[in-house]
Symmetry: none
Subunit: 189 residues, 4 copies
DNA sequence: AATGAATGAGGCTTCATTCAT
DNA sequence: AATGAATGAAGCCTCATTCAT
């Protein structure tokens, strides 16, 4: 965290997470890092450039990271769901800041960037859809008759809401939370 | 929708829903209604006053509307959950605009208003907690061993995410969607 | 010159005449009049609005003012040319500021405004073309064989250049100058 | 046009011609040539340096080029005027870019540079004055009784305006245009 | 009930320039 | 010969708000 660029990225993530894209100003970022507004522009060209830099630094990694599990031919669907919940909730706790920005602020991008990054979200969601479909195919009754895309959205809604309310805490670890969600989804009455 | 105030409220809801609180400006609202900025201030005192007016007009009603069901001593918990999902999803489709504003923009309120309205959300959530607790007490196994407050948050996260993605559509009515959520929650493997 | 708007227009003409559109800034105008930058925007909406206001205030008048002479069926072409030169040079001395702005800065307008005002200039030029044509039709040899549109441009180039160099002066009144131009155009060797 | 400096000069002329001195920025020039802003400064020291370089590269040549004709003791004045018009209009078509910059942007120079280059223009004009005076001395009536300095300005105004409107075109070659101007000046009624 | 005048603060961006490398 | 880092000043504009009417 020595050079200016890294300091800027770190500060920008913190700032945008708290204030939201419209509420985060270049001036705030500059004074947070202790440099001038022009220097911020020097690094990112524009305000949108800051958001893009955050997303570029972060997204490629997190979309691909789960792929090995998804493609594993020897793992059953329920196990994949279990692993996904743990994977995703770990993300929520470790990178809640960028995740929040990604979910909440991508809509402020313009032109093709908007399309690209909103598509990334769709791809991530698609992974969950695939898991649901595998579970349905395996036929033990779970999610039977439900539309995979809607179920996937239900799961992500459930998980992502935690970015707002979850506080790391001895009484509720993120693993506990993932298990909770897994239980809600897999155990009926 | 004849008098200026009502036109203003209607336009303000539409505007804030689309632009978000920071992105919605008094000037935009004024020109949307075809009056001057000063007149907007004349009605609401301040920008925060606009947000407050929207919430005041809407929230009291929707918090109380479900109470009769909740208090019904003859209805079992699962039935209440079923009714809640339909009630809440109807809200999503009918008043998605105000619901979105309520969920996303209350944090921009200041002073005691912030506390009051964020508390309102807690009260609404509390209703779901009560339902979960009743279900657990009735002991058919659903939600057994789960923390009610987390389960309630999971349910609301699942439902509220629909404010973002759900589009009214012949192939997926809001009742279908509520049933989907009900099925996800109540049928395990 | 009591109200703010009139003070602004007067100051804006002076400023833009001297600095040119790109060189004249809203801040300079504001401090020239002793008000804040926001007040300038309050009156004109944008920088382009200032230029438009100047042109709107001035152009309609000066395009139409010569029409009666042009349409006079009893006046011969050479007399009309004589009158035009005096009319136009009076403009140069009386409203050199706005004329300069009109000739030099219309190109900075955008969208349809650019088209509208550049067309105005074409209309003004068209008047001179008409005069040349009448002279040619009357057939005393003046301008014989010359293209009217080019001759008109030659005349206007000759006259308008005076906006740059002419200084009111006892030794060369604007009427003298008009007569000079008339002589150059009408007396050959 | 291989080395960086020459590429810069060429690009600078094109840029300043189109945008004008205030509108042309070092950044635009840098990206036009595909180098960094710092490198542009490295070559020219400052923005004013760019304008100076353009003028220095061009002006000495074009002022001196006509001198031989002017000094020719065997050529009569009208012939010199004829030659000047062709010489000058050729300049208009061949180096309209630099001519435009020279006429329009020298006023942005500062200190002694401003004086030097505005004086250059006076020197060029002086050549026309000399031609008029010779014509008057030769006494065939052309320009009789007219002030040479004003007549010179009239001629240059007429010619230079073509930098704005003239487009190379099969129907009107620059030689035709020079002849037109010559005819306007020398044939009366 | 409604508005125009006026503003201060701030927001994003451009720009010419300096400095060290 | 060429550049990236960094900046201060300025530029245009938005915005919420106050005040008098």
């Amino acid at each position: 965290m020595e050079n200016t660029y890294d300091k800027l990225i770190t500060a920008a993530i913190e700032l945008m997470n708290i204030e939201g894209y419209p509420g985060a100003s270049i001036g705030m970022l500059a004074s947070k890092v202790g440099i001038s507004k022009s220097t911020v522009i020097h690094y990112f060209k524009s305000k949108e450039g800051i958001l893009l830099a955050i997303l570029e630094n972060f997204l490629p990694g997190y979309i691909d990271a789960f792929k090995p599990v998804l493609k594993d031919p020897d793992m059953d669907g329920v196990e994949k769901l279990h692993k996904f919940l743990h994977f995703h909730m770990k993300l929520v706790v470790e990178r809640r800041d960028v995740l929040t920005i990604n979910l909440r602020d991508t809509k402020y991008l313009t032109g093709k960037n908007k399309v690209i990054y909103q598509n990334q979200q769709r791809l991530y969601e698609e992974q969950v859809v695939k898991i649901i479909e595998q579970i349905q195919k395996e036929g033990h009754g779970l999610f039977r008759g439900l539309k995979p895309s809607i179920t996937a959205k239900a799961i992500l809604g459930m998980c992502n809401y935690a970015t707002i309310w979850y506080k790391e805490d001895d009484r509720l670890s993120i693993e506990d939370l993932a298990e909770h969600f897994f239980a809600i989804l897999t155990r009926g009455k």
